[in-house]
Symmetry: C2
Subunit: 209 residues, 2 copies
Amino acid sequence: MPTETRIVIVDDHPVVLEGLTNMLHSLDSIKLVAGCADAIATMAVLRKEPVDLVITDINLPEISGIELCRRIRTAFPHTRVIGISTFHDPAYARELLNCGGSCFVTKNASVTEFETAIRKALQGETWVGDLLTEQKPLSFSQQEGPVITRREREVLALIATGFTNKEIAEKLFVSISTVDSHRKNLLTKFGVLNTAALVARAAKSGLIS
Amino acid sequence: MPTETRIVIVDDHPVVLEGLTNMLHSLDSIKLVAGCADAIATMAVLRKEPVDLVITDINLPEISGIELCRRIRTAFPHTRVIGISTFHDPAYARELLNCGGSCFVTKNASVTEFETAIRKALQGETWVGDLLTEQKPLSFSQQEGPVITRREREVLALIATGFTNKEIAEKLFVSISTVDSHRKNLLTKFGVLNTAALVARAAKSGLIS
DNA sequence: CGTGAAATCCCCTTTTCAGGGGATGCGTTT
DNA sequence: AAACGCATCCCCTGAAAAGGGGATTTCACG
């Protein structure tokens, strides 16, 4: 590596920010440009000075880490993004990669894992951590949250808000049958037997506001 | 303070552990005895050497921080406990204090707040952070989630897991009618019309794992 | 130009839930 | 002793959801 890698860390929890900062100090050739608490502040920093890598929490107030990633990659294509999250949620990882993110690691990842993620990100590779890749696609798509379509996501959101099939049908200008089909598909995809479990699982996967 | 305060930190996320450790380093008269990832390890440390204060995450794998607190206070009455959590959930705070905890702070608390909490805890006082005490009981019981009984909490958890009233009844060794009553009370207390909204709200309030 | 996924719609039956009512013990608090 | 909250149990009815099946259009992709 010719020069120092310029890094920005984003997390709304000072404790985590501190922990990450400290963790990075132990690595070579790294210059911590800034630690930000939200997406707005981060974009402001990026506009002012060149940054090679942004390490951001997924769960941020106002603007999510995913969205932040998208904006970074749109405005500064040379800046790589690593997402971190409390939970090893494949849905997050998938979304992050879809939005141009390089790596996804959980907060309980080891220093080694962080190092790997940083290295991979800087080389332009994608990586989603050991815990995630270890699992078979089948097993975690059942367990952690399946791939659902746009329409299913809409219906799911309305279900979680407490609307009945009939009400959802009226809102979406479709028939009750259609909503019912989507609902059934959701149950099947999530591998659950009723609405309660569906909503709980969706909430856990961060699919619900 | 005559001697150093002996502290153990508990969090299953290395990053947070690191952050807290670092934060504590900046304070005087503190000796960090150990950093643990779970309740079992923590109890093992306590059995080996005297500890004045345990700072633990509420959300721990296997055994929760609340339960850990209870065990600590039962086995080592002189050891104080501070609970930390990602969310400023009054329900957590209440439970923690009920289990003998001294203070409750969120992970986005400032160093000053941590200092206050530590000081209060060592003096045997209880404290639940600024954000929590600022709010009136009425306002946050409406907004953050109603006060529900132990039994209702149990039923709610089982509902969210996807069990039907019949199955819950079998698990709790009560009749379906009873479970149904609890369910209805939950709907009323949360001010929602169906299970989907109930689970969503409960998830938002952090009442569901 | 097929193929396939997504979205749309319909039929059927059984189970579960929601909403209304009331009632009984059993502790704790007043 | 009375009042209260909690947990327990029961009745009823109608609505909603679950579970099963099948069918259509539309649109993107190879």
